[in-house]
């Protein structure tokens, strides 16, 4: 059967009845997501939230959801801080002072970047935001999905003669070729429409649109047009984004944009142009749109109804992109107060070519922070995690100060992925 093995490989098992039920496990809700006393506690995700997260592809097959009875996440200091940011942005939208928070979440492998995105998405769903998720940045650059050239100013697809004309213009160096990715955009719209169905159905459109035979009435039906007609998906996405970020009298909810694996977007993609030159990721329209949003190029990062743009790097699947590493260092330096001309400001090595497109992103991104995730804190967070594992019957040792300290050190200073591995190790 076609696709059977793939479905088996990519399946997400959320619950395991062999695990013990943990008594006293509370659900994540609007109150305890900002409660500092909950740091070190595991909070469960309720059924409704699970449906949203599944539809938006927040879970990954390599995560260990299939070892516990009820899916839950650990509240870290960073999680509570994220909760506070979300409530602040919500309040800002209600009080007509929209605030956009843009952040890159970086860190070593296993430090919990993807789960930080999942927690942010959960909290956003709880607050009735619109959540847009790109679960694998890699999908956009490995050339496994359709692409087509389009001119930089227009959203319409080109016919072959027009494509040839713009190709010749491009080879003369006067215009950069941007490429559309209709199937991936349609999948994105499918995720958005399915997971945010209730919220989007309640939002009417500010203007009237007509796409062929379709006359959408609200944001949900607008997104569905792009799902059903792949050729219209990019236009629909642009319209949807304009609608979501248009300041209107009818209140639009804030938007959370979560991108996982942004390293793949900072280098050449596997696509080739018509004259067989590699296409840079920034020439792909969806990637360009998100990158301009994250780095606030041409003001694209200011969301009129408020919102948060989060991008996580990958630890285990990262391509080597020196320009992006340098960019992160430059963002760190700027956060510490250094400026471009200072002695200690990280600059590219002389006599080495660096990707200028990536370094140019530094200019507009004034409020972009890089949050570097480190290991868990030993006495509260790591202990809480191991206690949960022990209560579920997965961790077989006694959770004492000694064992917690031992596992914490072995996990490289409490790196949560490694700690989870030690917590679920089979003792023979």
């Amino acid at each position: 059967m076609i696709g059977e093995r793939k479905a088996l490989r990519k399946r997400i098992v959320i619950s395991n009845t062999n695990a013990l039920e943990v008594q006293g496990l509370r659900d994540l809700n609007v109150k305890n997501m900002v409660d500092e006393t909950q740091i070190g506690q595991m909070l469960a995700l309720n059924e409704e939230l699970l449906d949203h997260l599944r539809d938006v592809r927040a879970f990954k097959p390599t995560q260990n959801w299939n070892m516990f009875r009820k899916p839950s996440t650990l509240m870290r200091r960073e999680s509570v801080e994220m909760g506070r940011t979300i409530l602040d942005v919500s309040a800002g939208q209600a009080e007509e002072r929209p605030r956009t928070v843009r952040r890159i979440i970086a860190g070593e492998r296993g430090t919990g970047k993807s789960l930080m995105l999942l927690q942010a998405m959960s909290m956003a769903f709880l607050n009735d935001w619109v959540v847009i998720n790109v679960p694998e940045g890699q999908e956009y650059t490995i050339a496994h999905s359709a692409y087509a050239p389009m001119t930089i100013n227009s959203a319409r697809q080109l016919s072959p003669d027009q494509a040839a004309q713009t190709a010749s213009k491009q080879s003369q160096g006067s215009q950069e070729m941007i490429y559309n990715q209709p199937t991936l955009t349609a999948e994105l719209l499918q995720r958005i429409s399915k997971s945010n169905e209730n919220v989007l159905k309640r939002i009417p459109l500010a203007h009237e649109y007509k796409f062929g035979d379709y006359e959408p009435k609200n944001l949900y039906s607008l997104a569905v047009v792009g799902v059903e007609e792949t050729s219209l998906s990019w236009k629909v996405w642009q319209t949807l984004w304009e609608e979501l970020t248009s300041p209107s009298e009818r209140r639009r909810p804030p938007v959370l944009v979560a991108i996982d694996g942004i390293d793949h977007w900072m280098t050449l993609s596997k696509y080739r142009s018509a004259d067989y030159k590699p296409i840079h990721a920034h020439q792909l329209a969806p990637i360009r749109h998100f990158v301009e949003m994250l780095f606030n190029q041409n003001g694209a990062g200011q969301l009129a109804n408020g919102g948060i743009v989060l991008a996580a790097t990958t630890g285990s699947n990262a391509p080597s992109v020196p320009a992006f590493e340098l960019l992160l260092k430059q963002l760190d330096a700027r956060a510490r107060g250094l400026k471009m001309g200072d002695n200690e400001f990280p600059m590219p090595q002389p006599y080495k070519t660096v990707d200028q497109r990536v370094l140019n992103l530094l200019e507009g991104s004034a409020e972009l922070n890089v949050q570097r995730l480190k290991g868990l804190e030993k006495d509260v967070e790591a202990k809480g995690l191991l206690e949960y594992f022990a209560r579920s019957g997965v961790f077989r040792e006694v959770v004492s100060e000694r064992t917690v300290a031992e596992k914490w050190s072995l996990a490289g200073g409490g790196v949560i992925g490694e700690l989870a591995r030690f917590g679920s190790r089979l003792r023979v």
Binding site: A143, H144, A146, P149, S273, A274
Partner: protein
């Protein structure tokens, strides 16, 4: 079932694989063909639009592949023989052409170096 260059391919076949089944198209040429028509690496033959199929067929008919190419190669070998060159004589005798040793390891030459080589 889609017709590329008058050969029928099942819809699940990848375009890259289908193109490489022609004599004269290998991984390099097929990659360039895909790039020229803006097709991604894992595009299936069933996913091609009619206009794209027509364009690919047009490009294939312009290229020298299959029988045209075979004729060219055999013509080259025949020309070498007809002009009485050393290489032509080696082809006729079924011996190595490119200056290899003839004491041992001449099996491939004996099998392949012919005037009427089967391609």
């Amino acid at each position: 079932m889609v017709f590329l260059f008058s050969v029928n391919f099942p819809e699940r076949r990848m375009v890259k694989k289908a193109l490489q089944s022609f004599f004269g198209i290998g991984p390099n040429v097929s990659a360039r063909l895909l790039a020229k028509h803006h097709l991604h690496d894992t595009c299936r033959v069933g996913e091609l639009a009619n206009t794209q199929i027509l364009e690919i067929n047009a490009t294939l008919t312009e290229m020298k592949i299959e029988n045209d190419l075979r004729r060219q190669v055999l013509g080259n070998i025949a020309r070498l023989r007809d002009t009485g060159t050393f290489r032509g004589k080696r082809h006729a005798m079924g011996l190595p052409v490119r200056g290899q040793r003839t004491k041992n390891q001449t099996i491939t030459a004996w099998k392949l170096n012919k005037i009427d080589r089967k391609l």
